[in-house]
């Protein structure tokens, strides 16, 4: 079931798997958090700590967390509204 989540980047972790890079970004607000995994990447332009964004994807439960894999994302800027929209 697809979801749309708005939040702030609270943690960026590198999660390599057998030598191949991937990025695990925790997005949250004071109601909770979700982990977004981008496979095959070490960094995503615009994804920095504190950045607000919206992600669109289908979550999976991994342990106690929900994870989205390679979702669509829209970077937000507080003052001007959506800055950049990235479809998959």
């Amino acid at each position: 079931m697809p979801v749309r989540v708005r939040g702030q980047v609270v943690r960026i972790r590198s999660r390599p798997a057998r030598g191949l890079p991937s990025l695990a970004v925790t997005i949250g607000d004071d109601t909770g958090s979700i982990v977004v995994v981008w496979t095959g990447r070490r960094a995503i332009g615009g994804i920095t700590l504190g950045r607000r964004l919206i992600v669109d994807g289908v979550p999976r439960r991994v342990g106690r967390q929900l994870e989205l894999t390679n979702p669509g994302y829209t970077l937000l800027d507080e003052r001007r509204g959506p800055v950049q929209e990235h479809a998959k």
Partner: protein, 220 residues
């Protein structure tokens, strides 16, 4: 559980029959209408669907969003990878199992492509053959938890540093544990005071980076 099997070759069909007979709700997907026509009555009541598993619309049509497990077991590694990634990324399927046809491709069958469990027949067979013939070598049998834990086997050679030692004196690292001993066709449940003998087949569970130390303790 709802299981989707992509690829209705021998492997997929056998899996379907086994799983359906165990009470799971199985859907078999294949692109070839001829295959479907020939086999649809011989799969214990599994549901059949025709289509290309690499297309999102096909996966949506067969209800993948409700599946608990998908097994991508076609004879084409590229297809198995694409199906796995789509299943993980677009449908959030909790468990994605994929078949590796060509062992040279095995390095790709992991989280990068949405694969939780990869199965390579040659790899499994090699492990079993090695287990049968190797004395003194450290043989990896099975890995799970996305490679974070491994089951391995060592048949203790006469010169092994572990012979005549009690398990608690082996100096095994904390991230490992001996789970069973096979001695002259008997299974021995190991305890700290069990003394190892030459010829013992030691089955050990290794997690993290402990493999080197376990190897040193059992093989030398």
């Amino acid at each position: 559980m709802k299981v989707v099997i992509a690829g209705a070759g021998n492997v997929g069909r056998h899996m379907a029959v086994q799983l359906q007979q165990s009470g799971h709700d199985v859907t078999l997907l294949d692109q070839d209408a001829g295959v479907i026509e020939r086999h649809r009555r011989a799969t214990a009541g599994a549901t059949w669907a025709e289509g290309d598993g690499c297309e999102i619309d096909t996966l949506r049509r067969i209800g993948l969003a409700d599946a608990d497990v998908i097994a991508a077991v076609t004879g084409d590694d590229e297809d198995n990878l694409v199906i796995s990634l789509l299943a993980k990324q677009e449908f959030g399927v909790p468990r994605v199992v994929a078949r590796v046809n060509n062992p040279d491709n095995e390095w790709m069958f992991n989280e990068m492509w949405g694969v939780d469990v990869s199965v390579s027949t040659p790899h499994l067979l090699t492990g079993l053959v090695e287990e049968a013939v190797n004395v003194g070598a450290f043989v990896r049998l099975l890995s799970f938890a996305q490679g974070r834990a491994r089951l391995a086997e060592v048949t203790l050679a006469p010169g092994s540093p572990a012979v005549d030692k009690a398990i608690s004196n082996l100096g095994l690292p904390r991230e490992s544990t001996i789970v069973a001993l096979l001695r002259r066709d008997q299974v021995v449940v190991p305890r700290g005071d069990t003394v190892l003998q030459g010829g013992d087949e030691v089955i050990v569970l290794v997690t993290g980076d402990a493999e080197t130390d376990v190897r040193r303790a059992l093989v030398g």
